[in-house]
Amino acid sequence: MTSAAASRHWPAEGLTRVPYWLYADGDIYEQEQARIFRGPTWNFLCLEAELTKPGSYRRSSLGAMPVVVTRDQDGALHAFENRCAHRGSLLVLDERGEARDIICVYHNWSYDLAGNLTGVAFRKGLGGKGGMPADCRPEAHGPRKLKLTTLAGLVFGTLAPDAPPLERYLGAEIVARIRRVMRAPVKLLGDYSQTLPSNWKLYMENVKDTYHASLLHTFFTTFRLNRLSQKGGVVVSDCGGHHVSYSLAADTGGREYEQAGMRAAQEGFGLEAPELLEAVDEFGDGIGLQILSVFPTFVLQQTRNSLAVRRLVPQGLDRTELVWTCFGFEGDDDAMTERRLRQANLIGPAGYISMEDGAAPGFVQRATATADDLVSVVEMGGGSTASADNRVTEAAVRGFWKAYRGYMGI
């Protein structure tokens, strides 16, 4: 345990209290990079559908570490650090593209698509002068390579040789819920990003917080997309770090909100163009909403027929990029694609039900910057991290911290 973790103590109450210094301590941020992102966790890198052609590449990240994912000429996927063995320059500058090999722009050192150093410019000098000593082994300083596993079209990577196999890391229940959504070959619809003015953990807490959904997002409740009275629940993996929250598409007609006189319930508020929400039960199980997260920073989202993967890139203590990639399936007809595009109005930075999620973590970041020695109260549903058949609980948030503390040793 290093000094920062040693000098920081978790409150005696355990997982029901979360200290605010977690979002404001630079040493903690650095340790997260080493122990979590570069540690024995599996991190989502991209969709396989983003790398269909042999010789294609895509930039991604492992926490804050820049990564390149490639598909070689034989069709095999690789991922490695986007850093040249020589002076540490970025190797790949474009977001995506195609290449026979990877050549560092700085001094033209070259790599194959698996990240192996294959060429050093002027290694033997020029005209018998200069060059690199024969015993120098620059290959030993090459970019770090990730171990990859694909699951139903999702590409996950880890730097840790001792990471458990992906399916064991996730657990059978999470794997089944991933396969439920990733039911066919993926067709990309597009992507976009948001800069979140907050620590990455605040966004992940928001994702796992089933309690806030119908209270912060009043569009959701007003149109009966998601009320806590709707049938649904939350699944928390045994390790705590992964979760699924879900609800059925049909409303039970409960009036808990109206009776409580809450902001969310505005009688008579109807859509002039209700086709926005027109959906089909493509999964055949009546589940209208499924939000799934994998520790540390992956989200798979099904909001009716709007499907997306989300990936977080920490960019400092109080800045995080949130990358959205929306997709359908190759078998979709035009009407289905249009339906997915229309329902994408619900998500993303301008999403009827997700725009607030870009801001709310920032509200916490700003308010707690001067409350370093204070804690948040995470006690809805008690203190457990167990799965529940309702969503008026913060079990998945506590689960996140359970896993986090394990990796961080705090």
């Binding site: 619809l189 976009y192 800069t195 505005q266 694609t337 229309r342 994408a344 301008a350 801001a359 920032g362």
Partner: protein
């Protein structure tokens, strides 16, 4: 293209931006035809031929719904925009319509006074000149950057 036509497009653009910047969002849908399309996408998606938008509306009614949601349902900090528009590049389009491409820059001013360059990009517009009134049959907003700071509430 006559000078008069260019001036009409410029006037349409100016009134459109003013309605948004002056917080007269209820007037915003009326700049579109009944089945007018309004989409916000990124240059990356546009160039890759990918159809995803941050906003994807296919009728004036959908735009009115968005205004009502912004007024009554969505939660966001008080903010305003200032649009700066370039000169429209006007060309004849199909079915008697006019096509116009216009660059824009939008500054976002928060209640705190914080001001930032929020968005740059171009409008690809198809405009119907219906009697005296010019309206958008389609307005495609192509953002130069894929990144939105925090959220996009007020339309561009």
């Amino acid at each position: 293209m006559t000078i008069e036509l260019r001036l009409r497009i410029q006037d349409l653009n100016a009134r459109y931006a003013q309605a948004i910047d002056d917080n007269k969002l209820e007037a915003w849908p009326d700049f579109f035809t009944e089945n007018g399309r309004y989409r916000i996408t990124t240059a990356e998606n546009f160039e890759r031929g990918l159809p995803l938008g941050m906003i994807h509306a296919t009728s004036r009614a959908m735009l009115r719904d968005r205004v009502r949601s912004l007024r009554d349902a969505n939660v966001y900090e008080a903010q305003r925009y200032r649009h700066l528009l370039g000169a429209p590049l006007v060309t004849p389009g199909a079915e008697g319509m006019v096509e116009a491409q216009t660059s824009f820059m939008v500054a976002r001013v928060m209640h705190s006074g914080e001001i930032m360059l929020f968005a740059t990009g171009r409008y690809h517009d198809r405009i119907v000149l219906d009697g005296g009134e010019a309206r958008f049959a389609e307005k495609l907003v192509i953002l130069d950057s894929r990144l939105i700071d925090t959220l996009l509430a007020i339309p561009l």
